[in-house]
Symmetry: C2
Subunit: 361 residues, 2 copies
């Protein structure tokens, strides 16, 4: 049995052990194929089954309506920060962006290269400890779309509601909480997510795009940057990341076996709840995010001093609890506990936190 | 022992068996790390060692001069078809492209979205059976750059010389023959290659860019499309395809162990030579490419009729020789025999060809 530690990394992140074991077993030769999945052609029957099976499972998990396309792209959410405005905002147009943390800000920066960005609300003055309420959103009814990031990995804040945006299309970067809870796809015109948190290893980006959005792409776009290219070619315009999609397929199967998104949310609420309870009961640990906006995926908290935080991370690492250092822009501790993160790891962290508080508090 | 067949696919393609076995052995937990390489952070020490080790091996293999940057990107050669002109051609500028097959044509199509493309030579009228001679190149000394595809996967033709282009920067798509033979990097200002043929599984693109090219990128470019972003961030601006780079690293180690690029070329010449000899000695098989432009990587040939070609592919597949069907735009048979393709597989194909000719000729 190979020794594994607990991986609290914000992404790339932990994958389900049965998925790793199946990928390992079949790595040299896929059963019935005689080649490694690392070697098979993206035009082969074997890969057709993988990508179509993966899409079918995704559609089933998230109840994706028929008028949405499911795309498997490359370049991460970072390339989507550009592709969304390039395709959806007419040249010199305008769009509403809600700024709730580092990732929203990166999306805004790229959108400003295409047109005018109206920041419909920002919680930056509050240190990105929360998302805005519906009342705070200053929406422009003529915006090309409204953009939100459903979960901010770095600050550990998460939208607990789908904002009402009238008839303006809603676009979401759901990279860090996709499939961690049920998703109301029909509320959104486009959802994108880098896969390396809840879906798969790094190297593939999932996009759900409503059919009517495709007509917006300007003529003469570069092929790889035009959603129409990928829709028309069913994500096979050029060679996709075959292996990464194969692992995503295994993760989707695992997620269905585990009871789907409602069950995932129950488990995630339980795991996050255990941690937030310890933080709230302690005078030593202090949560970063406002209680009603706390992420189920990224639990961010501080200790009384930066020295103690350093010591915490260093001792935790020695105890086999890896990746707990918060992002430099927020500091402190961040425990990322995505779908595949086991509750036993949360319990280990809690035991460690209690002991650390006892000896250093 | 898992049953493996011979994979003649044009890409994704066969990988070295020792690489697959090492990746398999360590898939659930990387030794000394306790996490799968599918799960580790791209900001971790473990990944630093992987990507830096990979770059060091690449620099060693190809003797890359110090004034070149080595980048690990996403989006395949297809995204490079756009990034090259976006970065290297001033808006409304012009560039020279040599058209030697389907991939050159795709590169030209994207470049035309940025500026004026002068087709410096085209062998399309000859059915892309050869590359042009130096004398045929109608080069514009004021072009922003000259673009070639060093090997055309579909037609099976390969440049046997580095064209002389004076002081104009030379750019190459080397996706399908990179590291199949020694590479004179200093002759080129930029070389790019999708990894899924000779380097790694699908999902990463290698770029070598000479330092002086970076100043050409226009202000205000989208971050992910600007080479400067990736140079400044050492390919870690956003999450790279961690696992794919890890496998690339294993392949580079294997290639060095096998004696480097000169030794690879010797083996490739031997493998391709065996096949071309059978084709030339036969009145039954007919090579597609002109003899002096024949690819070492993709051996393309025809049979007397399309019916016989269908039968050939179908019987070969049953005999464990997979992926031999030529691209629909050329027809016939294509045997892709990249670095990792074993000579035993070439010998099997030859035995099959001789028997097929004997029974159907």
């Amino acid at each position: 049995m190979t020794q594994r530690i607990y991986n609290f990394s914000a992404g790339p992140a932990v994958l389900p052990l049965p998925v790793l074991e199946e990928a390992q077993r079949d790595l040299v030769a896929l059963p019935g194929v005689g080649m490694s999945v690392l070697e098979i052609s993206h035009r082969s029957k074997a890969f057709d089954e993988i990508i179509q099976g993966c899409e079918a499972d995704i559609r089933k998990l998230a109840a994706i309506p028929d008028n949405y396309h499911v795309l498997f792209l490359q370049g991460g959410a970072s390339l989507q920060f550009s592709m969304v405005p390039m395709n959806l905002m007419p040249a010199g147009g305008k769009a509403d962006y809600v700024s709730t943390g580092s990732w929203s800000k990166k999306a805004i920066k790229e959108a400003q290269k295409v047109g005018t960005v109206n920041v419909a609300a920002s919680t930056e003055a509050d240190g990105f400890k929360r998302v805005p309420t519906q009342d705070e959103l200053k929406l422009d009814p003529e915006a090309a779309y409204v953009h939100i990031a459903t979960n901010e990995t770095i600050h550990g804040v998460e939208w607990k509601y789908d904002p009402e945006v009238g008839s303006v299309p809603l676009v979401a970067d759901a990279s860090s909480d996709i499939f961690g809870r049920p998703l109301n796809v029909a509320k959104y015109a486009l959802i994108y997510a880098g896969a390396q948190k809840n879906l798969a290893p790094a190297g593939v980006t999932l996009v759900f795009i409503r059919d009517d959005m495709l007509a917006r792409s300007p003529q003469g776009m570069h092929s790889m940057l035009d959603y129409n290219t990928h829709v028309k070619n069913k994500s096979l315009y050029n060679t996709p990341p075959v292996f990464t999609i194969y692992v995503m397929r295994l993760v989707m199967k695992w997620l269905i076996e585990q009871g789907g998104l409602e069950a995932a949310e129950r488990r995630n609420k339980e795991k996050a709840g255990l941690l937030y309870d310890v933080i709230d009961a302690s005078g030593f640990y202090r949560g970063h995010a406002q209680a009603d906006c706390r992420s189920l995926m990224n639990v961010t908290f501080r200790l009384p001093s930066e020295d103690l935080e350093k010591q915490f991370v260093s001792e935790a690492t020695k105890a086999g609890l890896d990746g707990l250092k918060g992002h430099r822009s927020v500091g402190g501790i961040r425990a990322s506990i995505y779908n595949a993160f086991p509750i036993a790891g949360v319990e280990s962290l809690i035991a460690f936190m209690k002991e650390f508080e006892r000896t250093h508090g």
